[in-house]
Symmetry: C2
Subunit: 395 residues, 2 copies
């Protein structure tokens, strides 16, 4: 099935809502996603205040003042500035009554209890007006925004101490394959170290989801079923790796159909790598069956899991950053399949060039670890031309 | 002083080396920076193994086989395949003696103890050769690489359980200003909530540094000195915010000169915002004196602190991702100063457009929280033209 059709069938079989909101302290919210618009509860500034260090005064007292013919005003300390007077004021300090402008220290010179003013100011000069930045009731951060340091600063500046963010999606990862041994155990040269749960849990964590591993299931239907049932009970989304090829051990889709008949919506997608991907829905929870090949599993995650996590988070955008790149050589595609070509990107003469990463062998995990991103070769193209300008999605 | 000159003077006054390496378990190394090249300790694959589920056989026994005239071979279970024989094999399993190719399950049909083979294979077909992905002694991840999920997967796949990464730089943050109150305390409308330490510690943490706050110093020389001395004792890098303008409270540079005469290398930089930035070196530790204005502090961090943290980490590249954007309107620059213009970026007809964010008031923290990145207006330009194509640095 073509990718777009697979995605649309899968998503229409799911009634997926974003996860419930939780309140977290503003200082712990970096990277989380706002669950609703954040509304200002007060004006900012809360009153008229000075934007500079200087002297608060009446603008009309400075009319005509210049470097060569300064006006001389009288320094006062009262919180009421009358005509002919000025008062010292710091950045952020509230404006004294009567004053409507602030002259900067550099444009004034204090001589005893007098101050010479060397510049003519308009009304309001160097004054931050009450509510000019933010009005009470205004949306200061939109819903679905991933919080950056500056958002936290903004929210803190107006006294917002807790923010409603979407809970982290829980993702259960089950690896299948009798040939697998867990990472960190004793090295057995004739078995393969299971690395997909490490890679995919890293990808989840980069997106703001929390992954946990269910361990390895042997190629045995009841063992696989147990893992999937555990995943469904504990997580918002279940991912399996391995056991989905059309080969001898094509077990996972079979087990899924056993758990719930007709739950497998898609089995086999026109993409490379990742052809044997399967997508199922059980109890309105998505189960994504990825290839055991780490690169195919990563690309399957990109295509099917990344948008799902974005949806569970209610995030405005979870797609990777795209940049325009120029290919350094022609590459072959695969008519009828969408190809995800890993590329290394470098800058030359102010332009980005993308060099396809050559696979040395079949264990193509080195092609992603050496790559900076991927380029898509569409289904209807036999390949991409040398020097062709395309989008690269950055890892 | 122009930015480039300030940077070069500051860096030459520092003999900054990257921090010491620490060993962390591979599964905890996401986002950390490799302190040395990671070398493979074994071949991958460790032996010849099958890349598919199928039957291991001798390629020459398949010569001439096709859909219409299959070759029939005898199924054996021994770990030694002779001419005319084949053996079941799974993906990843080691090749049995005598076999030099694998036929995929889909291209064969088992009938009792015989298997019909429908395709002619070259020697080595569907076999992953020993060491074809990675050779023992090869560099698999370079020094200075920020570890992504796929790097961890690669390292785990060849049994590397601990990785030498650079320790996290410790950054001490001190805010100065008698007008400030700490975030989270009681709201006092006539004072300003201190948010720079929240913003800057978020920026540090995004880069992989660990920031801690020294709290707020009143506008008092001995209090400021105490904070800076504490920062120098506990951190690799000290940042202060506030107290650096040319105004009444230009205290921090004065305190620094008191701690160590002539330690202030730069005071005042031709940039907007961020003009009153100062840079000092004490005991070979960098002290960066940023404006108290949150936006100016952020831009000062971008320009002076970001590359320093990259250097302490020994990271290959810590600059922000740049994309080419087209401005939606002309903007004024400031001849002789480098201007950092905050922009909102959106996609239209496959192109990125950048719209300058207008500041409503002076408390321009909303201009960064609404922005997706910034565009630089060079010192020698009066402004940028409507529709001009420039680089945007992404937040």
């Amino acid at each position: 099935m073509p990718i777009d059709e697979a995605r649309s069938k899968f998503y229409s079989a799911l009634q997926l809502e974003k996860l419930d909101a939780v309140y977290v302290p503003t200082e712990e919210a970096l990277g989380l996603v706002t669950a609703k618009p954040v509304i200002a509860e007060r004006d900012s500034p809360p009153f008229d205040r000075s934007a500079v260090d200087g002297y608060a005064l009446r603008a009309k007292d400075t009319f005509g003042a210049s470097q060569h013919s300064p006006e001389t005003l009288r320094l006062v300390r009262e919180d009421d500035v009358r005509s002919g007077e000025l008062r010292e004021i710091w950045t952020g300090e509230s404006m004294p009554k009567g004053a409507d402008a602030v002259i900067m220290l550099e444009q004034a010179e204090k001589i005893g209890e007098k101050v010479q003013v060397f510049s003519s100011l308009p009304t309001g000069a160097n004054v931050s007006r009450k509510a000019e930045d933010i009005e009470e009731g205004e949306v200061v951060v939109e819903e679905g925004e991933r919080l950056k340091p500056q958002h936290l600063g903004l929210l803190a500046s107006i006294g917002i101490e807790k923010i409603a963010v979407t809970g982290r999606p829980r993702v259960a990862l089950a690896a299948t394959g009798s040939e697998l041994v867990p990472f960190g155990g004793k090295f057995e040269p004739h078995r393969i170290i299971e690395v997909n749960s490490l890679i995919l849990s890293g990808m989840c964590s980069e997106l703001g989801a929390e992954a946990f591993s269910l361990g390895i299931a042997e190629d045995d239907e009841s063992e696989i079923e147990m893992k999937i049932r555990e995943g469904l009970a504990r997580a918002d989304l279940v991912i399996t790796t391995g056991g989905t090829s059309v080969g001898l051990h094509d077990l996972v889709p079979k087990v899924l159909e056993h758990i719930e008949p007709r739950c497998v919506i898609v089995h086999g997608v026109c993409m490379r790598p990742g052809m044997p991907t399967a997508l199922a829905v059980i109890d309105n929870k998505p189960v994504i069956v990825l290839s055991g090949n780490p690169v195919a599993a990563m690309i399957g995650f990109e295509v099917f899991v990344r948008p799902l996590i974005g949806h569970l988070l209610g995030a405005k955008d979870t797609s990777r950053i795209k940049i325009r790149v120029r290919l350094t050589r022609r590459v072959a595609g695969a008519l009828g399949r969408r190809v995800f070509l890993r590329v290394r990107i470098f800058e030359k003469d102010g332009r980005y060039l993308a060099e396809p990463v050559r696979a040395k062998g079949s264990g193509i995990i080195t092609t992603v670890s050496r790559a900076d991103g991927y380029v898509i070769i569409p289904e209807d193209r036999e390949g991409l031309r040398d020097n062709e300008v395309v989008d690269a999605h950055l890892f």
